[in-house]
Symmetry: C2
Subunit: 209 residues, 2 copies
């Protein structure tokens, strides 16, 4: 566990810290955690060694966790307002379109949260656990929506919302990984369409749309 | 581009090189490319600096590419004989079961090929392109099977085998990423089931099983 915690910051200090996190997030997105040293972060953010230690007394783990939280909030924001109300088929369609619009407008660097998992698992278990928690929260929104749809009869009583949510979320993560490999949004689009097809297959026959 | 190429090796030399690749592959799987230095590889494989240069004159890029090829062959092997004959629904079921059996018996470290994409994209474009090629070959087997199923009438004439293959492959990659985050095979299992549901939805109504 990291024992150091971020100091109380003035408004100006908080803004400086946020600026460092945002710039470091771009570096990590482009070069990976392993390919980004604290020296790279200092050079890329025009920050001194003592400044960096002041804002991140826990060192690289603390910085990486701040980056993960920052990226997680960004990807959630891109999925709003749909993400918190996936109770209708129209909301799922809106959510899919929002994801495609968001990632289609980014350089194709995959999911800025998901890509951290494989890098951190072996090298930084504390940060890896935090990232896994973000992914579970994200998937939890899908799960909650599907549970409500089952309760409201939009999914069959024998549908398994938790398992369906995992499957849809896997499609998002895998689709994003393949956007990175192919430099095209097409894999995410294909993956989301198939995932929604699988969801519709769990609807009662009479309400399928 | 790397200009150095591997030297012609004796049978004993080839065996030594293969031993280094296999051991280095385990290190990279556990710690990531960025977290594994050539010094780590030397220590982990009991190899001298000059030996490592002898077998991998192109340095880390060449070693990483050899690791990617080695892992790619392993994951293909785990999917045989189904992978090359995904022409029937039974073959798809067999393929799913083979994937689950293979990854269910591994420590949950995600896909040893897919995880390389995000790490290499920003730091080693040559190796990243090779990994993207492996992923495309893998997906190509799914694509070929689905094309034959459309031709034989097991999929509807208006089904899009290429897009469906991308979606199924995204489910595999995303499912594996989530096995790493959750330390459970469940996400891969859920993702594969939903992907097969989406495939079945592209079958003519009379032949759906």
């Amino acid at each position: 566990m990291t024992t150091a915690t971020a100091p109380r910051l003035t408004a100006k200090g908080a803004a400086t810290r946020a600026r460092i996190v945002a710039a470091a997030a771009d570096l990590v997105l482009a070069r990976g955690v392993g390919g980004t040293s604290l020296d790279d972060v200092r050079a890329g953010t025009l920050t001194s060694k003592s400044q960096l230690f002041h804002y991140f007394p826990g060192g690289k783990t603390e910085l990486v966790m701040a980056i993960a939280a920052y990226q997680f909030e960004r990807v959630l924001q891109a999925q709003r307002p749909y993400l918190e109300s996936l109770d209708t088929w129209a909301a799922w369609d809106g959510w899919r379109d929002a994801l495609l619009a968001h990632y289609g407008s980014q350089p194709h660097w995959g999911c800025p949260v998901g890509t951290l998992v494989s890098e951190l698992t072996g090298t930084d278990p504390v940060a890896a656990a935090q990232v896994a928690g973000h992914l579970d929260s994200w998937c939890g929104h899908l799960r909650d929506g599907l549970r409500r749809m089952r309760d409201s009869g939009l999914l069959r009583p024998d549908a398994d919302p938790d398992r369906l949510a995992l499957a849809v979320f896997a499609s998002v993560q895998g689709g994003l990984l393949l956007t990175q490999a192919t430099r095209s949004i097409e894999p995410l689009s294909a993956a989301l369409d198939a995932a929604l097809t699988a969801l519709h297959a769990a609807a009662p026959v009479t309400t399928r749309s």
